[in-house]
């Protein structure tokens, strides 16, 4: 897999290039936003892993551009989860907050790649998720984590509720914006469930 890894910290970039290469990836590196844009224009990457605070070009613009190229993006967050880089329309496919363990990034990379290659169409009541293009009901972009939650909910599988907690609110907002009748609700003694209001 061809990966572009971008972060201003040279030690971090060097270490993760080594690690990702050991996993059998072809890794190109960049240290600022301008380099990311230049490299992403000249070559097609399977995935871009970049810091949320790259110098020179606003991360939001880069993600917007990569979204148009249909290139999955993983953001390494140095700030809060709700930073504007994740706002709708401009949405990374996943994010990881510092500090993290190498396994976390490697697993996430594989997970995102797998989803991007998938042609699975998840559907539940009035909802549909096109996993390959990270789209909810063909309209709003969802992240890797949000797809995982929706999938577990739709297929009634166990999942880590505590980890899912931060995403429930944003998912419900998206469902509301799509004017869908299905919402994620907390059911006592059962945990989160997809509930459809059919009056």
């Amino acid at each position: 897999m061809k990966i572009l890894f971008a972060d201003p910290d040279r030690d971090l970039v060097w270490s993760f290039r080594e690690l990702l290469q050991k996993e059998g990836n072809d890794v190109t590196v960049a240290y600022d936003g301008a380099q990311v844009i230049r490299k992403a224009f000249t070559e097609k990457y399977d995935q871009v892993i970049m810091s949320s605070s790259l110098p020179r070009v606003n991360g939001r613009e880069i993600v917007k551009m990569l979204n148009e190229e249909k290139c999955p993006v993983i953001i390494l967050m140095s700030h809060k989860v709700n930073s504007d880089i994740l706002l709708d329309g401009v949405l990374a496919n996943s994010h990881l907050s510092f500090p993290f363990f190498p396994d976390e990034l490697i697993n996430l990379t594989a997970e995102v790649a797998q989803k991007a290659a998938s042609s699975e169409l998840l559907s539940y009541e009035d909802l549909s998720v096109d996993i390959g293009s990270f789209l909810l009901c063909g309209d709003i972009r969802v992240t890797n984590e949000e797809i995982n939650i929706l999938k577990s909910l739709a297929e009634r599988q166990q999942f880590d509720q505590k980890k899912a907690e931060p995403y429930i609110g944003s998912l419900n907002n998206k469902l509301e914006r799509l004017k869908k009748k299905t919402r994620i609700r907390y059911v006592m003694k059962e945990g989160y469930r997809l509930v459809t209001d059919n009056e």
Partner: protein, 412 residues
């Protein structure tokens, strides 16, 4: 922090107010009581003189040294001795009249030495006082009713001039007291600002420190993690990489904790109506499995429909921290109780504890940990977050240990 300054100033001002009120009332009450006393001594002398001042035996003109007491009850002549009701000059300085009434109610003028009223008014006035014994009439006039030789005497003296200084002192006390309250309030506010400034600074520094540590440590930790992993991949895992891994994991957990607590800022509260009951039940319900895994029997007593205006996300996180804390430190039994008594919302969390009895409010301080039940490394930020959220919503927290029970109260 401005809140703390105001609280300090108001509390201290209250103390100043009590002090001033007691002092000034004592001065004025004693002053007026002594003025009444002086007036009674004069009417007493009139009574002894059968209605006329100076008809009694002459006051003792010999100089007596009564020491300090002379100041308050001057006796005789010279110096202070000229000032009080026993002064020999009293005969020439008192405005008064005396009327005597026989059994049939006929009035006889004994003396009329007052120009504020004429004889008809004086007689009427005297008559109206029959039946009582002594007291104040028309504010400034002291009267005494006494029996002598089958007649009932009524004497009324004008104490207006004698009372004037007392009234002046009263007015000065009230005005001066008010001025002192205002001045002390301003002084206290200024002093409060000075006193709390270092505290505020310390608090800000601690907050900054947390976010600095979090910001500056998270990248290096990630790089160390990555390189330990690389070392293991190249040379296989060794005791050295194991130790590095273990220690870095510990640090990573601490930094992650710091990251999640450093983001709260009072100014960012987004207020809406939130249902505390549902929120608490939800949080506890989602941790049921964790509690039963640790064999902790949960007792839940949540009053339904407790509503509050506040930041939902912040409260939820605070409740989660509270549950997490209970999970960490409880052995055997733990309880959560939410009550709403006339809009006084109280959330009580109890669990068995081996700590000695006493107030343990320091659990709410940042980086303070008491003996941990399962010996895990705790950073001591969870409850400080709870306190921050509660105080940001004008609530109060307290924690104590009594009879082997840890009791945490949140008042909202």
């Amino acid at each position: 922090m401005n809140k703390a300054v105001r609280k300090f100033a108001v509390t201290a001002e209250f103390a100043v107010f009590i002090l001033l009120a007691v002092l000034l009332s004592v001065i004025n009450v004693v002053n007026f009581a002594m003025a009444s006393d002086d007036a009674d001594m004069i009417t007493q002398r009139i009574a002894e003189g059968n209605g006329i001042l100076g008809r009694d035996k002459k006051p003792d003109n010999k100089i007596k040294n009564n020491g300090f007491d002379d100041l308050f009850r001057p006796n005789g002549t010279g110096g202070f001795r000229n000032m009080g009701p026993n002064s020999p000059e009293m005969n020439f300085s008192i405005r008064y009249f005396t009327y005597a009434f026989d059994k049939d109610g006929n009035a006889h003028k004994i003396i009329m030495n007052m120009s504020a009223v004429d004889e008809v008014q004086a007689e009427k006035w005297a008559k109206s006082l029959l039946g009582s014994s002594t007291g104040w009439s028309n504010v400034n006039y002291r009267y005494r009713v006494f029996e002598k030789d089958g007649l009932t005497y009524v004497t009324v003296i004008d104490q207006g001039r004698e009372l004037l200084p007392s009234y002046r002192i009263l007015i000065i006390s009230v005005a001066g007291g008010a001025a002192m309250l205002i001045i002390s309030m301003l002084t206290l506010l200024a002093a409060g600002r000075r006193i709390f400034k270092p505290l505020e600074e310390a608090d800000r520094k601690q907050k900054n420190f947390i976010s600095d540590v979090e910001k500056e440590f998270k990248l290096p930790l990630t790089v160390i993690n990555a390189n330990t992993e690389l070392l293991e991949k190249q040379n296989g895992p060794s005791e050295n990489t194991n130790i590095i891994n273990k220690q870095v994991r510990k640090m990573t957990a601490i930094v992650k904790d710091m990251a999640s607590f450093s983001v709260f800022d009072e100014k960012e509260l987004s207020i809406s109506k939130i249902n505390l009951s549902d929120m608490m039940l939800h949080v506890l319900d989602s941790r049921t499995a964790d509690f039963s895994k640790k064999n902790i029997a949960l007792e839940i007593d949540i009053a339904p429909g407790v509503l509050i205006e506040g930041d939902g996300e912040a409260f939820k996180k605070a409740f989660e921290e509270l549950a997490e804390n209970t999970l960490k430190y409880s052995v055997g039994k733990a309880s959560f109780r939410l009550t709403n008594n006339k809009n006084r919302i109280t959330l009580t969390q109890e669990n068995d504890s081996t700590l000695p009895s006493g107030q343990v409010d320091q659990v709410f301080d940042r980086f303070t940990t008491l003996k941990n039940a399962d010996g895990k490394n705790a950073v001591g930020l969870g409850l400080s977050y709870v306190k921050q959220i509660v105080t940001a919503h004008n609530g109060r927290v307290s924690a104590k240990v009594t009879d082997g029970k840890f009791i945490l109260n949140i008042y909202l």
